[in-house]
């Protein structure tokens, strides 16, 4: 037990559990974002009222702090593990086989995670920071007009392209991450292996795809 918390298996389990929480967060975030599909003034009213609720409700605020903590935990644990694994092979191979049997995503989780973290920082600056500290206007119902800020952001083709590219990174990250988390926790048994593979691939395709469809809709509209 004394080495359990410092073991890489435990730390990987932490990475997996925190990742799992973040997938649940993504589903919740996505459900909220779906309101951006509502066109016109109704969409604006609905989205801004939702944004107000999400930034003032005590339960949501508490949940948001848990989410920030989880993101930081997931990043720190995984960066630490990557650092440790670099130490485990100080001399690289002259000829690399390209790792047969392993997917590109599985070998590049750290790169994908870093790209997602960079996206997250920019994303928070664009919307979270504007909502909390920015000097944004109010809609005619008296709520902060995050809807206009969001629609305006996605009129920029580069910003929209960056968002879509980031969702692609997320798709690859999830395509390995979900199944890997179950394996690390020891739950990927032969009985559930097939279902876990389908769930992992499904989550990896559906979540980023719907996320990416929103800015595309706003850009086209």
């Amino acid at each position: 037990m004394k080495l359990y918390f410092s073991s890489k298996i435990f730390q990987k389990a932490l990475a997996g559990l925190s990742g799992g929480f973040l997938v649940v967060f993504l589903i919740g975030h996505l459900a909220g974002n779906l309101q951006l599909f509502i066109p016109g003034e109704l969409g604006q009213k609905q989205f801004n009222a939702y944004a107000l609720f999400m930034t003032t409700n005590p339960a949501v605020i508490a949940l948001s702090y848990i989410t920030y903590t989880t993101i930081i935990l997931h990043s720190i644990v995984t960066i630490y593990l990557v650092f440790k694994s670099k130490l485990a092979r100080p001399i690289k191979y002259h000829v690399s086989s390209g790792n047969s049997n392993s997917t590109w995503a599985s070998r590049n989780m750290a790169f994908l995670g870093t790209m997602i973290l960079i996206f997250l920082i920019i994303h928070l600056r664009s919307f979270w920071y504007e909502m909390h500290f920015g000097n944004i206007g109010f809609d005619k119902w008296g709520n902060k007009d995050l809807h206009t800020v969001t629609v305006a952001a996605f009129q920029n083709v580069y910003y929209t392209a960056f968002y879509i590219l980031s969702m692609l990174m997320l798709a690859f990250h999830l395509s390995h991450g979900v199944g890997s988390a179950f394996q690390t926790l020891g739950l990927n048994t032969s009985k559930y292996k097939k279902s876990i593979t389908y769930i992992g691939k499904g989550v990896a395709i559906i979540i980023p795809l719907i996320f990416a469809s929103i800015p595309i809709t706003l850009y086209v509209r």
Binding site: I91, V95, S97, N99, N101, S102, H176, Q183
Partner: protein, 250 residues
Amino acid sequence: MENFSIKLKVWRQKNNKTQGKFVDYDIDDLNEHMSFLEMLDVLNERLISSREEPIAFEHDCREGICGSCSMVINGKPHGPLKGTTTCQLHMYHFNDGDNITIEPWRAKSFPVIKDLVVDRTPFDRIIQSGGYISVNTGSAPDGNAIPISQEDALYAFDAAACIGCGACVAACKNASASLFVSAKISQLASLPQGQPERDKRVVAMVDQMEVEGFGHCTNTGACEAECPKEISQEYIRKMNWEYHRANIKG
């Protein structure tokens, strides 16, 4: 085919205190039916005749069951053939005039002793930490006296096929020993005789693996693809489960 020739690039290193380097050897007059190790034997005889230091490499049974013949051939542990040790790899899997690069296992925990020979005693220490049954299991019982399902027997047998060669460590991008350690843990955890020390064993062996400085498992699956005994990643799943379970139970 007779008069088969290849161009070798071999890692040469005097000992773990000195820097190593690649040395090129053009070798001809080979027979395609030679095993890879026999090809190295021929090269070594020629080196000895010309008063050069022969290439140090490990070998013992030469029938694919001892796990000694560790070398990375063209980026693949035990060479390009799936489910095969280096000694069972024959030269007819290569073409006349091929360039072949041979490197030792690369891991901090497996320092080079000489040329292609690495120190694999970390594996011995992991086994010594708990990879055995020390409770009294009595004398040899009658056949079928201990009930065990065929599924469990096959599961344990597949894990027991591990020859402890270290190809999993060599193949893993993190130099993780998870496949080896998990095979040894799962084999004993699946059998009745392994039950009394099941929790103590997994904790001791995983903790020793940590102490030896191997990397973590990122479930890429590269180990399973390169393992000469094709041990499944399922055993890593089993080890993770056993390790969490034993520690949570306390």
